[in-house]
């Protein structure tokens, strides 16, 4: 029963979600809204569990004086401070909560995001080395796309010569072609595979063929 009941629930709910996609009737649409409301309710309870786990993890770290435990104090204090400020004084524009969010959280997020620029540079440096035919093709395509995006660089490279002017005029088109034809073709191939994989995964979870998420030795009846 420990296995059968979750499998039955998964099957019934999954079947309902699949059927409702094709049935716009209010009976199904209304039920879908109810199901989604339940998801939000369960999510709210899960958030309580999540916050509990966060606090427990960091409290445990402080209590046992594990490595870098002072950071856990910062985490817990920040969490409590935002709770007190938010619940006590509201979170609308003009409140302390809003100020903290705008002046601490947002800049911190932006800082993390900005790291992406450096990581792209380091990753590109590693990748764009012509070690094999494929890597060389990748390198050439990347250079063409980059020059196509900033064609004035070609004038700088070749000067105001006929070659420079020709490349300046045509490189954007070549770049667009690479982005619109081979790149899109590759992407669509991946998307087809993803769609098929998603259907097959959904099918095997719905039918109980896949049970590794419920235990049972990795799924797959015989």
């Amino acid at each position: 029963m420990r296995l059968q009941i979750p499998l039955a629930i998964t099957f019934l709910v999954g079947l309902f979600m699949a059927v409702q996609f094709f049935v716009p009737h209010e009976m199904f649409h209304g039920s879908l809204e109810n199901v989604l409301a339940w998801v939000r309710i369960v999510g709210a309870f899960a958030l309580v569990l999540g916050i509990g786990s966060l606090l427990r993890t960091h409290w445990d770290k402080i209590r046992r004086r594990r490595r870098d435990w002072p950071y856990s104090i910062v985490t817990i204090l920040s969490f409590l401070a935002m709770c007190v400020i938010g619940i006590g004084f509201g979170h609308e524009p003009g409140t302390v909560f809003y100020w903290v969010f705008e002046n601490i959280q947002v800049p911190l997020d932006a800082t993390m995001f900005s790291l992406l620029a450096f990581f792209i540079a380091s990753a590109a440096f590693r990748t764009f080395r012509a070690r094999s035919t494929e890597a060389t093709l990748l390198l050439v395509a990347a250079v063409v796309v980059m020059l196509g995006r900033v064609p004035s660089a070609l004038i700088v490279m070749f000067g105001d010569t006929s070659v420079g002017q020709y490349l300046h005029a045509n490189m954007p088109d070549v770049s667009e072609w690479i982005m619109n034809v081979p790149t899109v073709a590759g992407k669509r191939g991946i998307i087809f595979g993803v769609a098929l994989g998603a259907i097959a995964t959904a099918l095997r979870v719905l039918l109980g063929i896949e049970r590794s998420h419920l235990g049972g030795g990795g799924g797959g009846g015989r």
Binding site: L49, G50, R56, A123, F192, G197, A200, T201
Partner: protein
């Protein structure tokens, strides 16, 4: 004046007076009420109601200011659905109806009169009900029961239904066909999945933990579900070797599910005492806050292996590059085509698109799952064939004319719609 003429004049006067009194007591009601289903509404919740204006003009000091559309299931008293200003005409729609199997509705429209100079908005309260005692509300005849019609099938999605049913049928038939000899089915080796065992072994030998990130989408995303299936296999192996697996989560529902999966895996491996629930915790649902936390974990813990399985956004490269700098063996899998190049660049192995979904079956090597992979491949071949036929049909539609071009165009449009 002669007596008969005086009698006639008196009679006319009496009739006019009676008519005026009738107006003063009860101005005209909307006429010829009609209710029809809204053809644009597939759900079956909208009815379009129309009516004719009252025929006779109201008394001099009173004016018609608007209408009220009222309805209720048969047997219940009418309630207000919506107010209609005079300049909005004599029709209105409401989305508060329900189709069969709910009971039908009785519908009526009330004309609202008020002394001159008073607007409709002034007469009604915040719920839309007429509150002003100077207003006169005159109800039309009630019609019904009527109700909108809900569609039981969205014909615009026929092509999707056909393809989904076909793919499911292919997968199920393949499972039935290869059931007895699934071990003979060839599965293309996937380097990223072959490396999972190496990664676990490396972590065990080095005595370092593994970090598992299951993407940033919620539990409703199929990629997250696929990721959790992989986590089940991975944690079973980690349990067997008593290697720590750290799973920072950015969605509390995913955290709850993953805790249960890992706990179950350790129990199945016969090592429930090795399971450490504190290694699977909710960090934050902020995208870059989560990235900062996971990067910090990787830098501090120096894991032997990092797994990124699921759906990722801009954080993909930040995570993978940080993992790369720690020297960990990195295996990623995602169906986010925009992030695949970053993972390919920064990770040792990358599961591209469908490989993420095939991973669980590949790792489990159970006959049914292997058979399902075969079915998936057959469906892929059929889709490729349809693509080729579609390209040919589109070419024919563009170049030819007549019946053949029409048929070719219909074929293309059926898939494109």
């Amino acid at each position: 004046m002669k007596a008969p003429e005086a009698r006639t004049t008196g009679l006319v006067m009496a009739l006019l007076l009676a008519s005026a009194c009738a107006w003063a007591a009860d101005p005209g009601a909307p006429l010829n009420l009609r209710a029809a289903d809204d053809p644009e509404d597939d759900r079956g919740i909208v009815m379009l109601v129309s009516w004719d204006e009252p025929e006779a003009p109201p008394p001099d000091d009173v004016q018609l200011v608007g209408y009220q559309l009222m309805a209720a299931p048969a047997g219940e008293s009418l309630r207000l659905l919506t107010n209609v200003q005079l300049d909005e005409g004599t029709q209105s729609g409401s989305n508060e109806f329900r189709p069969w199997p709910w009971p039908g509705y009785n519908v009526a429209v009330a004309a609202v009169y008020a002394p001159e100079g008073i607007s409709f908005d002034y007469l009604v309260d915040e719920d839309g009900n007429v509150k002003d005692s100077r207003a006169t509300v005159v109800m039309s005849d009630t019609i019904g029961p009527v109700q909108p019609v809900g569609l039981w099938f969205d014909r615009d999605r026929t092509n999707i239904l056909v393809l989904v049913v076909a793919i499911c049928a292919i997968v199920l038939l393949t499972i039935a066909a290869v059931r007895g000899h699934a071990e003979d089915v060839y599965i293309r080796p996937i380097a990223g999945l072959e490396a999972v065992n190496d990664a676990v072994g490396r972590a065990t030998e080095m005595g370092k933990p593994m970090v598992y990130v299951s993407g940033l989408s919620g539990i409703g995303d199929i990629a997250t579900i696929a990721s959790m299936l992989i986590l089940g296999h991975l944690s079973r192996r980690a349990a067997a070797y008593e290697t720590d697996i750290i799973v920072p989560c950015n969605d509390p529902m995913v955290m709850v599910a993953e805790r249960e999966i890992v706990r179950q895996a350790y129990s199945e491996a016969g090592k429930p005492d090795v399971y450490r629930p504190e290694n699977i915790w909710f960090v934050t649902d902020s995208q870059f806050g989560y990235v900062a936390a996971v990067d910090g974990i990787m830098v501090r813990e120096q894991p032997a292996a990092c797994f990124y399985m699921g759906y990722f956004y801009a954080e993909a490269l930040i995570l993978a590059e940080t993992g790369n700098q720690t020297g960990a063996i990195q295996i990623a899998g995602t169906d986010a085509d925009t992030q695949l190049p970053f993972f390919i660049t920064a990770c040792d192995y990358t599961l591209m698109g469908e490989e993420l979904y095939a991973a669980s079956a590949y790792l489990a090597r159970q006959p049914l799952l292997v058979a399902q992979l075969r079915g998936q491949d057959i469906a892929k071949v059929i889709i490729a064939a349809i693509l080729i036929v579609g390209v040919a049909a589109a070419t024919v539609a563009a170049l030819a004319s007549g019946v053949v071009a029409d048929l070719a165009m219909r074929f293309v449009e059926w898939f494109a719609s």
